[in-house]
């Protein structure tokens, strides 16, 4: 019994990164490329499925006075639509489906990660980087499609003296390249750090209690800390989805109105 507990403590306390390990559920090798269905892919699929089912339920019977699920869908729509309109104006609403999907996907991935033993998709930087690159591809593609070469004005902001403009253009260029990185690293770092912190704090509870000495008195403090961190993580899970969506709007605005 004691040995079992010890093994448990060791696993929890010494390996807080184990939760991020990818494992293959179905092994697929197509044309020499590893396309296996992993636990990460599973939770992406669960998130998307959950979102589709919830929104279908919410919109299945639409009433003038909304019920509970319809209100949630309306609040979600209003929240993202307000964000898109504020950042890009009415013509930005053509990007609404994209921003809304992005927000809901990240939000569900983050929230699913809050369940014990669930996998947090967004704790892997490559997933976030793919999403960020999708945003940048749309910004560049739509920017050139709509403005032609005037899109390059984003590197030459108005009101800059001619002598300084090469330097400013270099700085704007680095700034543009750093966008997908800051976008993906922020989401990844928050989810990774939050979940590790949660595991470590929870591990403290066990290892302090198991010492059997006077230190065991502090164990409830660590437990209270864990509860507080869980609350904080719920806030961060929402906040990061929100920040990702709003920055998407800011960047898409550059494609709509370059060089202002």
């Amino acid at each position: 019994m004691l040995e079992m507990i010890n093994v448990m403590i060791n696993q929890v306390a010494t390996d807080p990164i184990h939760q991020f390990k990818l494992s293959k559920i179905v092994d697929w090798q197509i044309g020499g490329v590893d396309l296996s269905f992993t636990n990460s892919a599973l939770f992406m699929a669960i998130g998307v499925g959950l979102a589709i089912v919830l929104f279908m339920m919410a919109t299945s019977k639409i009433e003038t006075v909304p019920g509970r699920s319809q209100s949630i869908a309306e609040i979600a729509y209003g929240f993202v639509a307000g964000m898109v309109r504020d950042m890009m104006g009415e013509e930005g609403m053509r990007f609404f489906p994209f921003v809304f999907s992005l927000f809901v996907f990240i939000f569900f991935a983050n929230m699913l990660g809050m369940f014990p033993y669930f996998f947090t998709t967004t704790s892997h930087i490559i997933v976030n980087f793919a999403l960020a690159m999708l945003v940048m591809a749309i910004v560049i593609g739509y920017g050139f499609y709509k403005n032609g070469f005037k899109f390059l004005k984003i590197f030459f902001p108005s009101g800059v003296p001619a002598a300084l403009s090469p330097l400013v253009a270099l700085i704007e260029f680095i700034s543009f390249l750093s966008r997908p990185i800051s976008l993906s690293v922020r989401l990844f770092a928050n989810m990774l750090a939050g979940h590790i912190m949660l595991k470590v704090f929870a591990g403290f509870v066990f290892s302090l209690a198991a010492t059997g000495s006077a230190l065991a008195i502090i164990a409830p403090v660590a437990l209270a800390g864990t509860v507080a961190v869980v609350a904080l993580e719920f806030l961060v899970a929402f906040l990061q989805a929100y920040v990702f969506a709003i920055l998407t709007c800011v960047y898409l605005n550059d494609a709509l109105h370059p060089g202002h």
Partner: protein, 108 residues
């Protein structure tokens, strides 16, 4: 005369209501401060990282090590500062003109 009193009362009540709404909003904005802070930190670091990476890459291509790395690292640093100031400016203008501006609800 009585009507005038009522008008004053309504104006006073509306003002109080407006103020209480603004207080609520200001709180709302500071709650988003965490998001703004993380945005600043990540943008600062990402700019330096990208600048340094570009310099390193150019060094490899043109065999000018370490000059490109030094120059582009400094440029990246400047970009980081520019980005942080930009975020701070947005946040400041949003919190100051809180009245009726919808953007203030977003806090970013």
């Amino acid at each position: 005369m009585a009507e005038d009193d009522l008008g004053k009362k309504i104006a006073a009540a509306q003002k109080a209501h407006e103020q209480s709404r603004n207080v609520g909003r200001r709180k709302d904005v500071s709650g988003r401060g965490m998001g703004v802070g993380m945005r600043m930190a990540s943008e600062f670091v990402a700019s330096i990282f990208v600048g340094a990476a570009l310099g390193w890459g150019l060094d490899l291509v043109f065999h000018t090590s370490p000059w490109m790395l030094i120059v582009w690292f400094l440029l990246g640093f400047a970009t980081g500062i520019v980005n942080v100031v930009r975020v701070a400016k947005d946040f400041q203008s949003d919190t100051n003109d809180g009245q009726g501006d919808d953007r203030s609800e977003q806090g970013l």
